[in-house]
Symmetry: C2
Subunit: 544 residues, 2 copies
């Protein structure tokens, strides 16, 4: 008889990452019909934008969605761009293999970063309709046409019916996918809203949506400046983990000494800085080979990094939207009564990764969200200029908004204010909570910086509102008291047995207008005082 252990382990197996994500499609954003369709558009659009920007091309993207079968939610999605195309050699892996791509290890700001997205769409097509995707890639005077799917067991691409033509076809990529179990709608989680928000944050993009209902929406580019290419940067010593340092050191093939390795591979490390570190760690041999760096030595180096002063990382690698563009877009779309925008200086978080937060608060006018005739607040989230429409509640941006004490800024309750809070996080690496890339993880340094950015805008809003609020509060309190007057006058007339209710009401109103008004104003002053004493928290800046 088999022992318990033998019995249990007969089923021991290894699985591919494609099988894992097939079983856990929700982790890639394929959950719910509307969200699944938006996820597909999101993956193709972000890939097109990244590719165009890296190739120095003004992006022109067209998304065409056709309903094939309403009942089963079957749609055809065609995504077409004028980007650099994908060479034949890499086509299969780029669209039909998970965790393959150009973006994984690079310190460069791009929207994609995992090498999963487009392959996830290929998988979704094949498991919902059984069909491969169709691809046309034009580049370097070639045109490749093929069909493509993933062998899920081995996570490897299957390329079929490949045709290669030579000639001048220009450049660009066209992907056509038939997927099931999706739905096109114009809700705030749908494709239309996704594209609208993408246009808002990418002025150099021209994007067209051909909807299943036969409508054609074109968002023309508002800027003809080709954005500077994203730059690959070296990590900053501050925030590197011991493991990162060991990884870099043991991978090092060129620098022969620890001292030159530190100067060559990380930004802001000068010869003087190395000397300072050597002075702090006299028993570490800075002439040793990087490959010989021991864990306990790396640990001490990391500790020393945190004790010396550094110049902040450069902004070269970051591609924020820019204050001017945010202002233009938000005024254009929301036409708010008041708008405050903050652009923070770049900061760094774990692994020496630079990031930067832009925030805006639009108040009144068209800001906020219509909700049954009442205006409520909304949060407009971006990471690297790609809109985040889902997983709102688990995102660091939402958490930052939640943690702010809005009363300090003259607002009663964030939810009930007619305002839009806009945040864009730019970084060479965005710590998403899941592979679906719709929420930013609550990393302490990022969360705090987002809070700081929003609070900075909130202070401007506070200044604007303080006059307004005082006026409104006064009126409301008076109204509240006057509400009792009529009923009380009747009761008092009855109680006293003399004077008509009308007479008593007049006297009461006069009493309120004089004596009560004074009290109300005094109370208000007291409240203002409290507001002035309350400290607005702001984290210290890193030393430069």
């Amino acid at each position: 008889m088999a022992t318990a252990t033998e019995r249990i382990f007969t089923e021991f197996k290894e699985h591919s990452v494609a099988e894992f994500f097939k079983k856990n499609q929700q982790m890639l954003g394929f959950s719910g019909k509307t969200r699944s369709l938006t996820t597909i558009v999101h993956e193709y659009v972000t890939n097109s934008l990244d590719a165009c920007e890296e190739a120095g091309i003004l992006p022109d993207v067209t998304i065409t969605i056709t309903e094939l079968d309403k009942e089963s939610g079957k749609y055809r999605i065609v995504a077409e761009d004028n980007g650099p195309g994908i060479p034949e050699k890499h086509l299969g892996k780029a669209l039909g293999m998970m965790l393959a791509g150009t973006k994984f290890h690079r310190y460069m700001q791009q929207r994609g970063q995992q090498g999963i997205g487009a392959s996830g769409c290929t998988m979704d097509a094949q498991i919902t309709t059984g069909k491969p995707i169709k691809v046309v890639s034009r580049y370097d005077a070639k045109r490749i046409t093929c069909e493509l799917s993933i062998d899920l067991k081995s996570n490897s691409p299957k390329v079929m019916n490949l045709v290669k033509e030579e000639g001048n076809f220009g450049s660009g990529l066209r992907v056509e996918a038939e997927v099931g179990d999706v739905k096109y709608d114009k809700s705030s989680f749908g494709v239309y809203e996704y594209i609208r928000r993408t246009a808002l944050a990418n002025p150099h993009l021209q994007i067209t949506l051909n909807s299943p209902e036969g409508e054609k929406f074109t968002f023309p580019r508002s800027s003809n400046a080709i954005p500077p290419r994203p730059v690959e940067v070296q990590p900053h010593p501050l925030g590197l983990t011991t493991n990162d340092l060991i990884d870099f050191a043991h991978r090092e093939r060129e620098c022969r000494k620890l001292s030159s390795f530190l100067q060559e591979r990380f930004v802001r490390v000068s010869a003087a800085k190395v000397e300072e570190l050597q002075g702090m760690l006299p028993d570490i041999d800075f002439n040793k080979k990087p490959a010989d760096l021991q864990w306990h030595e790396a640990e001490r180096l990391i500790k020393a990094f945190s004790q010396v002063k550094w110049i902040a990382p450069s902004t070269d690698s970051l591609r924020p939207i820019g204050k001017e563009q945010i202002e233009k877009s938000l005024k254009n779309i929301l036409a708010p009564e008041f708008l405050a925008i903050t652009e923070r200086s770049p900061k760094i978080f774990r692994g020496g990764i630079p990031f930067m937060v832009e925030a805006a608060i639009a108040y009144g006018g068209g800001a906020g969200k219509e909700n049954g005739g009442v205006k409520t607040s909304e949060i407009i989230r971006y990471a690297n200029r790609a809109p985040l429409l889902f997983d709102n509640s688990g995102c660091a941006i939402t958490e930052a908004v939640r943690e702010i004490d809005w009363k300090r800024y003259g607002l009663k309750n964030f939810e009930e204010e007619p305002m839009s809070v806009f945040v864009n996080l730019s970084s060479v690496y965005v710590p998403y909570t899941s592979a679906g890339k719709q929420a930013i993880s609550n990393e302490e340094e990022i969360l705090q910086e987002i809070k700081n950015a929003i609070m900075e805008a909130a202070r401007d809003l506070q200044r604007y509102l303080s006059g307004k609020t005082r006026e409104r509060d006064r009126a409301e309190r008076k109204k509240a008291i006057l509400r009792y007057v009529s009923q009380l006058s009747k009761d008092l007339s009855e109680l006293a047995g003399k004077g008509t209710p009308e007479e008593i009401e007049k006297m009461l109103v006069r009493l309120i207008e004089t004596k009560y008004s004074k009290q109300i104003e005094e109370g208000e002053d007291e409240k203002e005082e409290g507001g002035k004493n309350g400290k607005i928290e702001e984290e210290e800046e890193i030393e430069e």
Copy 2:
């Protein structure tokens, strides 16, 4: 000169799933010091419970946590159980390779399901302290002692210093990991709370925590009954996707005909049912080999499945906590003023996966959460009896609570009520939002069923509260009015020029006690009426 395309694609690389999760540790639950430590304990405890239950052993688990260096957050965690142990052959892969394990493809209710958890802990140890984990595995008269880490580039295990002894050592697994950047605290997100909640839902478990502060907490088992072994089940036809059906059919090696394949591989498919399906699909050849099933045929079969009546899947595969145990645990821990428990019948969702929801509402007494002297509500979430402490806001259980209109049940505002809502989802597959397994994805069928379960308990609560609420409301309104009396009495005395404030106050109070009380009650009746007319939504049950 290289073309843009050549330049871009020089960096094209493939990566292992271990590298992916190293870069995205937050997806495994390694984000934040307290959470990271809780994640490690969670992975080891759930593995121990799964292994013990499968081997038919009453689990006895000890977690020992030692602080090694406060400043860098370095701790040693030892997890020890009396389970079946892991055989030498599988030890490396079970603890040092991602996506390897016994649990991935089985339709069986277990806490773990991905083959990532324990290997994730191994990775965390090596990237935060540079150290391998230490393992002792006892099974089948053997004792294996070794050190273990992961080669992240290839996602393969490295087993070091292995010693194998023969003799009677009993059975069990001991894992020792040194990790950095973590923190032990007794917050509601900490290890202590995790273990307390695990004990609450697993009466057959004996678990001991030796805390870094030298305290020893033992949660003794409250039941000596060995729980029935989890059963592996076949999928139910309802909810299978076309792709699932094709996968099963093309993998089929034994059944030679489509008709026998359907009967043998899925539950609730009788010969009569196959005949019924054949009648609906006369042009599909039910005698063909399963491997020859075409996509369009599978699609039509799936559609036909949704049009016939089925017996619901059996509960054999599910291991709920049970009403009696929930009652015992919640009374014991919360001592609530009122407790309602609902145990729903099993349902199925996509892929023919059975699931079952248990819910309870504890109200008043020790229920709810202390929050600065005020009691507020809390949600206690479980999946397969493993507590979910994190990602609260992104979880289907939280969403279900949020979507319920609590006013219909006589509550004002969910957040401000002194209540605990308890939910346990049991299923052979839980659709987690991420590999960190702390939140259940908002799948429509699951969300609705959780809502139904909570609403069922809420109706009991409503009955209990309706009398209470009326009494309380009455008292509160009176109090609100009486608050004005003192100030008004003074002003009226001044205004009228006669009667002392004290005399007027007495008269006013009498007036309120008589006339106002009556008005208040009338107002209340009106409100009750509205409550009675409101419909309580309840989704239709699936046909059985």
